[in-house]
Symmetry: C2
Subunit: 198 residues, 2 copies
């Protein structure tokens, strides 16, 4: 059982991040506009984050919410439709998506696969390169501990991105996917991380 992430851990993680950033350069290969997605049938979090590993900026974020009475197919159509609109509005260069390794049952795995599929079709049809990251890897990247809770991730996203309010949990998770990608992409650009392109 891993030790829970404490307030001190979060402060330490923030302090590591608040080191003065190098001057940003929009033509740098490390600078990207990322559409990040945390897919789920009823609540898909999304965020458009621009910048590099040291200077990320949140341009837009939200949650695609589907009512419990909606059929599976109707939910998928809505996820796909809204993401196509988001891509059209914000013109991201790349898509980063949370992958899933462990779920409770085959039925949940199939449903989650469907939701992820809706995101991949929207991003893939727009020609975006797609990268995936596992939940533990995302928490490790943004909080410094793989066992971090959703509220801790949201707290970190508010601090890191300088948001006025703590973002909703699903959107915060998507922001964390974007931050993970920007760090990973930065690492890749300097040759220390392999590509994990979907």
């Amino acid at each position: 059982m891993p030790r829970p992430v404490s307030a001190a851990d979060l402060q330490a993680a923030l302090a590591r991040r608040h080191r003065p950033a190098k001057p940003s350069n929009h033509t740098s290969p490390c600078h990207q506009r990322v559409l990040a997605i945390d897919p789920a049938l009823r609540r898909t979090g999304w965020a458009v984050i621009e910048g590099g590993a040291s200077n990320p900026r949140a341009l837009a974020w939200g949650t695609i919410t589907n009512a419990a009475k909606l059929s599976t197919a109707a939910c998928l159509v809505e996820i796909h439709r809204q993401l196509v609109e988001i891509i059209g509005n914000h013109r991201p260069e790349v898509c980063a998506i949370e992958s899933t390794i462990f779920v409770q049952s085959m039925r949940t795995a199939i449903t989650l696969g469907m939701s992820s599929g809706a995101c991949l079709i929207a991003a893939g049809s727009a020609g975006l390169p797609i990268f995936q990251y596992a939940p533990r890897e995302i928490k490790q990247a943004v909080v410094g501990r793989g066992g971090a809770q959703k509220s801790q991730v949201a707290f970190m996203m508010r601090s890191l991105l300088g948001l006025r309010e703590t973002p909703a949990a699903d959107a915060a998770d998507a922001m964390a996917v974007a931050i993970t990608h920007l760090q990973s992409h930065n690492a890749e650009a300097i040759g220390t991380s392999p590509r994990r392109r979907l």
Copy 2:
């Protein structure tokens, strides 16, 4: 372990089907044009079948094949794109899709969910009502035994639909989904079967 389906079983199933059909009526609620799909990432079988339970006719069928080198996202985009095209060309009124209950692993379940999701988005975006049927239920409906093999399903489809050649396995599976739906829909129209709408 169920007894394998024998040639005699197939002949008996065919004989049951070859009873003279009642005169067909295109305005009957039992008469439909069905897009049926057997989803899979690399080989998605599809068929457009028109008619009722007793007089089905194959209008078009095929397999959406994705090369092994294609990424998951590219496969999903292709499945979605081709199905949108098929729906535009053949104007089905309803979609019937093979569901999955048991798969080997969580990874397979997620991949299959993604493939099914691509089909559901194409059909759902076109406003088609969608019905799903389990593999065992489909085999039971078309061969008379839940444990039938793919080659036996293809043989039955060739006979039942009066095709010149035995269809490829994936397209034959999709045809069988359509036949199952038409039988079920017929049963539903006469009040003996519940709706299993997705």
